[in-house]
């Protein structure tokens, strides 16, 4: 049984009005324990609407969301349980910081779970460590931190609830290359050391190519490609056609292929790219 599953999930915004629009159409998705799933798609493809269903924030117009095999809308208590088991960290989460100290902000979630003070403290410290928050920051105002630091505090606030599934909507958006690498590395490390499931929403294949075990490509409210990173890149032309950025390296191969050269296009890392081009050159009798 999958840890999390959607069955024929459909969601309509503005039902009964002239602005009716189907944001999700018949989505069937399953997530296993311990996976790192990347959901990618361009703006308006339905990816954010999809993840807001996974912890019960939005209720499906049709279809179901199953957590450990149980419909999260079966009862009020099931919905409430889903909110704690599935932690959702929104885009630009640093705008949601509100407490007077970093410690209080991170502890807001665990406190609402009804834990004891000692347990709350443990949760907060564990989460802070995952995102590299220094001890000295704990009593500082979160608003005195830099943008990247605020982002990490906000992510820690969701991690501190120790959800079975952690969902992050565009965790690296707007950060510089160093900040991006740090946040993504942190998330990867969190998954490896806790064994928990992580779902990352992104419009950048570059961000998730190296860490995702499974990729779901969304277009017009439904997945158009699902598979390992390699499998999805085999259809790299399709990624371009749905308006996604493919990594620069993949672009080189797409252009070669478009010019009639027989090359693979499921390439996104430097060593692989080098190998494939050297093979190509050798075949054509160069590079001796």
């Amino acid at each position: 049984m999958a840890l999390l599953e959607t069955q024929n999930l459909t969601y309509i915004y503005g039902e009964g009005t002239p602005f009716r629009i189907a944001a999700l159409q018949d989505v069937n998705l399953s997530v296993e324990k311990g996976e790192l799933v990347g959901i990618i798609g361009h703006t308006g493809s339905g990816k954010s609407t999809l993840v807001q269903h996974l912890n019960g924030l939005l209720k499906p117009t049709e279809g179901k969301v199953l957590l450990n095999g149980e419909d999260i809308h079966a009862s009020k208590s099931a919905t409430r349980a889903a909110r704690f088991k599935v932690g959702l960290c929104f885009q630009y989460p640093e705008y949601q910081l509100f407490e007077s100290t970093v410690y209080k902000d991170i502890s807001f979630g665990p406190r609402n779970m009804g834990l004891t003070d000692a347990e709350i403290r443990e949760h907060v410290l564990r989460a802070a460590e995952f995102v590299g928050i220094k001890k000295e920051w704990m009593e500082k105002s979160p608003f005195d931190l830099s943008g990247g630091e605020k982002r990490r505090v906000a992510i820690a606030g969701v991690m501190a609830m120790e959800p079975e599934i952690l969902i992050l909507d565009e965790p690296a958006a707007g950060l510089d290359p160093r900040g991006r690498a740090r946040v993504l590395g942190m998330i990867e490390n969190y998954r490896l050391s806790t064994g928990k499931t992580v779902i990352i929403v992104s419009h950048s294949m570059d961000d998730i190519a190296e860490i995702a075990s499974k990729v779901v490509v969304m277009q017009n409210g439904a997945p158009v490609l699902t598979g390992t990173v390699g499998e999805v890149f085999k259809s790299a032309e399709k990624l371009v056609s749905v308006g996604l950025d493919v990594p620069q390296l993949t672009r080189v191969f797409l252009r070669l292929k478009a010019a009639g050269v027989d090359v693979r296009t499921d390439i996104y890392t430097l060593p692989e790219a080098k190998r494939e081009l050297l093979r190509l050159m050798q075949e054509r009798g160069r590079a001796q």
């Binding site: 943008g147 290359p177 419009h203 672009r251 430097l270 190509l280 050159m281 160069r286």
Partner: protein, 285 residues
């Protein structure tokens, strides 16, 4: 008349600390930089390197602590010149949502020039022209908040163009956009530079965007670390990595291929250029 539209002469700047606190460190330190008319200059640097402060110094939003900034010869420290300075150099910021002031696209674009006292007929012409220049003319009667991020940013750029600046400074205008929006903005800015000769200073942390500029300036730790053609700057891969930046991936691949005896031309920085170079080599075989 100088051939430089903006001159930074030994400019230093720091933000004011709260009372009782120690003074903050300089975030621009002794920077000298000339922006030539008609150039497309990319400014690269990670967060906190001082690149955004440079943008704000360029049209007298901030005034240097020491040194001078001259805009077409006008000293930004002279308050009586600030209208002329801002008419010459326009700045576009990162978040399009913070830059929209009106509820209809064309009214938003008209806001700046109207404040400059442009007469109605001329205003109409300028707004239409600016919206056409960014490819948003069909949306002139739309509500800005319903546009996509890339479209909003293009409206913000149109608002700048309508003031007929000689130079636009864009501070990470693509950081909050998706790939499609990023491309729309990049294409628009390139066209303005090429077709209208508008000087562009493009602040970014995307290496790929900097690769197609005439000149790349790299900021680190409040100072200019590198300044040259994209080819020259991106040949310093080690140094860039040390300060948390990188070279475009296609350039890194080109370097690997060269190291393995494949004669890729120097200065190949983009995926398209690399693919074309490989096709040429295959053709010769």
């Amino acid at each position: 008349m100088s051939e430089n539209i903006i001159e930074f002469q030994n400019v230093s700047f720091r933000y004011e600390a709260d009372e009782s606190e120690k003074p903050l460190p300089l975030c621009v330190e002794n920077v000298s930089l000339n922006i030539k008319k008609g150039d497309f200059v990319a400014v690269l640097g990670h967060n906190g390197s001082g690149k955004s402060t440079l943008a704000k110094l360029s049209n007298s939003i901030l005034i240097p602590e020491s040194g001078r900034v001259l805009v077409d010869g006008m000293d930004t420290a002279d308050e009586s010149l600030s209208y002329d300075i801002r008419r010459t150099v326009g700045v576009v910021f990162q978040n399009p949502d913070n830059q929209i002031v009106a509820s209809i696209v064309e009214e938003d674009v008209a806001f700046g020039p109207e404040n400059l006292g442009v007469p109605p007929d001329e205003l109409r012409r300028r707004v239409d022209d600016a919206l056409k220049a960014v490819g948003m003319y069909e949306y002139r009667h739309h509500e800005p908040h319903k546009l996509s991020g890339g479209q909003k940013q293009r409206v913000a750029i149109a608002g700048m163009i309508a003031m007929l600046p000689e130079c636009i400074v864009l501070d990470e205008p693509t950081a909050m956009l998706d790939p499609k929006g990023r491309k729309e903005v990049m294409d628009t800015v390139r066209r303005l530079n090429r077709e209208r000769g508008m000087t562009v200073v493009f602040i970014t942390h995307f290496m790929e965007e900097a690769a197609t500029a005439d000149r790349v300036v790299v900021m680190d730790n409040a100072k200019i670390l590198l300044d040259g053609t994209p080819q020259a700057v991106f040949s310093k891969a080690e140094l860039l990595k040390k300060i948390g930046l990188d070279v475009p991936k296609a350039a890194a691949l080109a370097a690997e291929l060269r190291a393995n005896g494949i004669p890729i031309r120097d200065g190949v920085l983009t995926a398209d250029a690399l693919a074309d170079n490989i096709l040429e080599l295959l053709g010769d075989a």
